[in-house]
Symmetry: C2
DNA sequence: GTCTATACGTGGATAGAC
DNA sequence: GTCTATCCACGTATAGAC
């Protein structure tokens, strides 16, 4: 399948470096055939990143989750998507956007589609919705970079359950935690209070 | 100055899309002159990202900070670097690495140079150094993406002090917090046996 | 020293043979 | 339907004129 090859190439090396010729070669066909089926390269890319009705599913899953568990649900839903075959399109889109082209597209997609419902709910129940969701986006974007793009261990190979346990609480603090407005939260907030600085 | 123009172009659009011609145009000179001064495009890029002895300074600053305040120091040092003129080289390097080329270079630079000292100290005093520093890297990488590349508000315009107050504690939890191995810190006691299956 | 001219490669896109 | 041949734009890099 040409679409599968295109998805792989786009996700692996990004939009620009994924030549039509290389995609065709990976699919075992001729480059002209790709043009014949999908038209321009941009058309092909749109076809690849257009998940079959999945954004709505993701948004709905996020919308159903209670706010005080959203950190966990976010990790499970989004990382699960990344790891799925269809999720490679999302990885490709992210990579290409960061690479230099069409950042505004990704920005509006993130803030106005995926995280909009979350932002509104946080705004109503807690406040600072825009800031909190932006911070959530930063952690999720970084997780994508480290796990899927740079593939830094051990994060690249960690199970979703372990990821939930590790980064879930941090997301939860961004979403519903206190102390995001007030000055610095004192280090004593942690049990690890030690004047000596040793272990 | 040609170097300044190159730094801007590389940081703005990445290595590939920043043509020698556009750099020369931005500097108000001819493209051949760029070649004459700096040789190949790759040579020019190396020249741009080679900060004047700054990596050592950063590493040293990180090495001097006490472990239980490292979250704050990390934000201050690294974000301060990004926002400085010379930090544009770092942004350019990151963007280009994510774009598709030379990921291994950035990976080894991050894990073996910048974060190595932190990892060793965390390993000695707390444990799980590799995992904890990788998680820290994920938050910092995401912050760079959201603040400098995608420029999502309000994170893009937040002061360093506010950033310290907001994401510092999350970094600190990654570095020295408990519960990264055990099941989950749980900000509130929720039913651990879930009521509804995870997405 | 600085620009003009050009060689060379890569990659997108089209027309046409079979 | 699938591939061959080709056109064309762009970008790196070099050589040489002034």
């Amino acid at each position: 399948m040409i679409l599968a090859a295109a998805r792989s190439r786009f996700a692996e090396v990004g939009f620009d470096k994924a030549s039509i010729r290389s995609i065709a070669a990976a699919a075992g066909v001729d480059s002209a055939l790709v043009h014949h089926y999908f038209g321009t390269k941009h058309d092909l890319f749109v076809e690849v990143v257009a998940l079959p009705g999945d954004p709505a599913m993701v948004v709905r899953t996020l919308g159903d989750a209670p706010l005080d568990r959203l950190g966990e649900v976010l990790i499970r839903t989004i990382v699960g998507l990344w790891d799925s075959p269809i999720g490679m399109g999302a990885v490709a889109a992210f990579r290409s956007a960061v690479a230099g082209g069409d950042e505004s597209l990704l920005r509006t997609f993130l803030t106005d589609v995926v995280l909009k419902d979350v932002r509104v709910r946080v705004d109503e129940e807690i406040g600072d919705g825009a800031k909190r969701t932006a911070l959530v986006a930063s952690q999720m974007a970084g997780l994508l970079v480290v796990r899927k793009l740079l593939q830094i261990e051990p994060v690249a190979s960690m199970s979703i359950d372990e990821l939930v346990a590790d980064v879930g609480p941090n997301l939860q603090r961004y979403l519903t935690g206190s102390g995001l407005d007030t000055p610095a939260p004192a280090p004593r907030a942690f049990d690890h209070r030690d004047a000596r600085g040793g272990a």
